[in-house]
């Protein structure tokens, strides 16, 4: 386990997947997971995450491209020959075997001798705190314990790589947060190359070394969590990553006397865009008069006196206030139309919410969310002034959704 460490890189090179019924689930997927790296594959449900993972595992045929584990091309190898371990969403424990037998099954099949199996099962159960349960059947375990057994089954094998398909989605919220940290720590300790699939962007952001965002079978961006958050490559990534999500609206860029402004609320509001934002989105400086999709995260608002006067957005009508203890979320009306492209539909991943957005687009406004320090909440229906930290603004092409860099 610890110490016995396989050098294993997992590389997907231009992978395609077409199901027998003609559905293409994965398009041109290229992604390299370095030895010992913890990569999270995230995306809305149905985007092809499981398909991709199952192709690595050998449970799904690869329609095109090359898959490497270690230095070997594994396209035509069976799961057995690939030497990987997988944790399933349902845990997939063998119901007729005890916890110890579940964990030792792979070793038994590999004809490892009995003492060695016992030793390795014991070692794994020490790590996972399963010692008391080794003789129980899975049925007699709680959800969290079953999840640990599934992890145990993976780690006793010291495989080339761990593959995990939404392993925490059947746990309640509190346990999920706890297991999130435990799995990340375990992976760190064992140093086994890991590909972890989830649809939960919070999970993705908190666990991995690197996060690969998948949308409708196409890789959007693969970067460290912070880079994804700070420098999304396109509107989809911007809208999908972050909670509450980024406020995104149609705005118009203009240039006067060498200064760049962004017009909101159909020209009624004009905020100055500082150099810092233009450094990150250089193309935005050259788009005088163009309508763009602009994004601003909820935390990049503040009290009016926290920003220069040119960046204050006045007289916003408060619609809802959420007091969360450590912070205060204020939702208020704007007259800036939302962006209603397919990118946004995919990022929102909720048809009803998207229809609500379309409805807002028709009536010509939308609700923005800002995150403030907790304090005296503004009254609903009152008007507030909001300081906009425009230096953190994001700019995207309104048509193709690409970042304006």
């Amino acid at each position: 386990m610890e110490g016995e460490h396989n050098m294993a890189k997992v590389v997907m090179d231009d992978i395609q997947k077409v199901y027998p019924d003609g559905t293409q689930a994965i398009f041109d997927l290229s992604l390299a997971i370095e030895d010992g790296e913890f990569v999270i594959l995230v995306g809305p449900s149905g985007c092809g995450k499981s398909t991709a993972l199952r192709m690595v595992a050998g449970l799904e045929e690869i329609s095109g491209g090359k898959m490497y584990i270690g230095d070997k091309v594994v396209n035509d190898l069976s799961p057995k020959e690939r030497d990987i371990a997988m944790v399933f969403q349902s845990y997939a424990l063998y119901p007729h075997m005890s916890v110890a037998d579940n964990m030792g099954f792979a070793l038994k099949l590999a004809k490892v001798d009995k003492d060695e199996i016992d030793r390795r099962v014991k070692e794994a159960s020490d790590i996972l705190g399963l010692n008391e349960y080794l003789h129980r059947k899975p049925k007699a375990l709680s959800g969290g314990q079953r999840q640990r057994v599934a992890m145990g089954r993976a780690i006793v094998r010291s495989p080339m790589a761990f593959l995990m398909d939404e392993p925490l989605s059947n746990l309640d919220a509190k346990l999920r947060v706890q297991m999130r940290a435990e799995i990340a720590a375990l992976q760190n300790r064992l140093g086994v190359t890991t590909l972890y699939v989830t649809h939960d962007q919070v999970e993705a952001m908190t666990m991995g070394d690197r996060v690969a965002v998948l949308r409708a079978g196409r890789l959007q961006q693969a970067d460290s969590p912070q880079t994804l958050y700070d420098r999304p490559d396109n509107l989809f990534v911007a809208g999908f990553i972050g909670s509450p999500s980024m406020n995104i609206a149609v705005g118009k860029l203009s240039k006067e006397e060498g200064k760049v402004y962004v017009e909101l609320d159909r020209g009624e509001v004009k905020l100055e865009v500082p150099e810092a934002a233009l450094d990150r989105y250089p193309k935005a400086a050259e788009m005088n008069g163009a309508e763009v999709a602009l994004g601003i995260r909820p935390e990049h608002f503040g009290p009016p006196d926290s920003v220069p006067p040119g960046q204050v957005w006045r007289n916003r009508k408060v619609e809802l206030v959420e007091m969360l203890g450590s912070e205060m979320l204020v939702h208020y009306h704007t007259a800036s139309p939302p962006v209603v492209t397919e990118d946004m539909r995919a990022a929102i991943d909720d048809d009803e919410a998207f229809e609500a957005l379309q409805e807002q687009a028709r009536t010509g406004g939308q609700t923005f969310t800002s995150r403030f320090e907790p304090g005296k909440p503004p009254a609903v229906d009152s008007q507030i002034d909001v300081g906009v930290k425009t230096e953190y603004m994001h700019f995207f092409d309104a048509e193709n959704g690409l970042a304006l860099r």
């Binding site: 799961p79 057995k80 997988m86 845990y91 424990l93 099954f105 099949l109 059947k137």
Partner: protein, 329 residues
Amino acid sequence: MGNLVSGVVAIALGVGGALLLFYVLNALAERMPKEWEERFKPYAFIGPSLAVVGIFLLYPAIQTFWFSFQTRIGTPNQEFTLANYEFLFTDPGIRDSLINNLLWIIFVPAGAVALGLLVAVLADRLLPRWEKITKSIIFMPMAISFVGASTIWLFMYAWRPPGSEQFGLITAIITGIAGPMDEPLIQISTGRLNSFALMAVMVWLQTGFAMVLLSAAIKNVPTDTIEAARIDGATEIQIFWRVTVPQIRSTIVVVTTTILILVLKVFDIPRVMTSGNFNTNVIANIYYDLAFTFGDRGRASVVVVALIVMTLPFMYINIKRFREQEAMR
């Protein structure tokens, strides 16, 4: 039309009668003082079923046991005797039948379950349409009566001396391929293995039943556990024996028991195919002869007692298994 009407009336009377009975008993219970009502109610509901089981199963069983120690039953000279048991242990015909019954018990449920399992597993890999067709064909014999099936298989085995036209399917096929046969391949009138030719009929009839239940059970095995085993490095055969079969064990037990009980009662197949001759006789057939041909109720009863005793070990195993299964839940 008349039959249909009387059938519908019978069903209505049966169901209605049961409903009425429970309604009346319940009404009665509710009239009692509270304390009594609580005590009486459970019996009001299980009482009728207990009574039916008692009258139609328990009472005859006890009576049979009693009769096995009696002679000249129904006459003024009825008296206690052990002669029936002496007959049971010494009569060569009975001994052979007991051996045959044992063979049936061992081989028929096992054969039908093994074949049913094989078909279920293989059919599962066909395209859905072919799977349906295959399973329908294999299930079809279930609709044929034992007597009908026995007659069909008599034709399967039939053989006539070379030169005459062969109407037996097996003989005809072999004759067609390899030329005339001087003697039949499968003899139901000689040899010690001829009982197996009769058992084949039962296996043929029951394979479909086993297949349907086992196939449903196999489809219920979570695909995840199969895939997990594949990743754990199991071959398809290892997956079958170590992951699939253990997960359908309770269904295998149910199917085996059901067929076993049917086999214990087997009577029609030897009756039609050999009339119990040529060393193929079974207990139920002997019972029939003793009870209805010779009218010897004492000896008939002792044969039934032997049959019940034979089933006890199987019942014990089954109940034990069932308890284990329940404990696992």
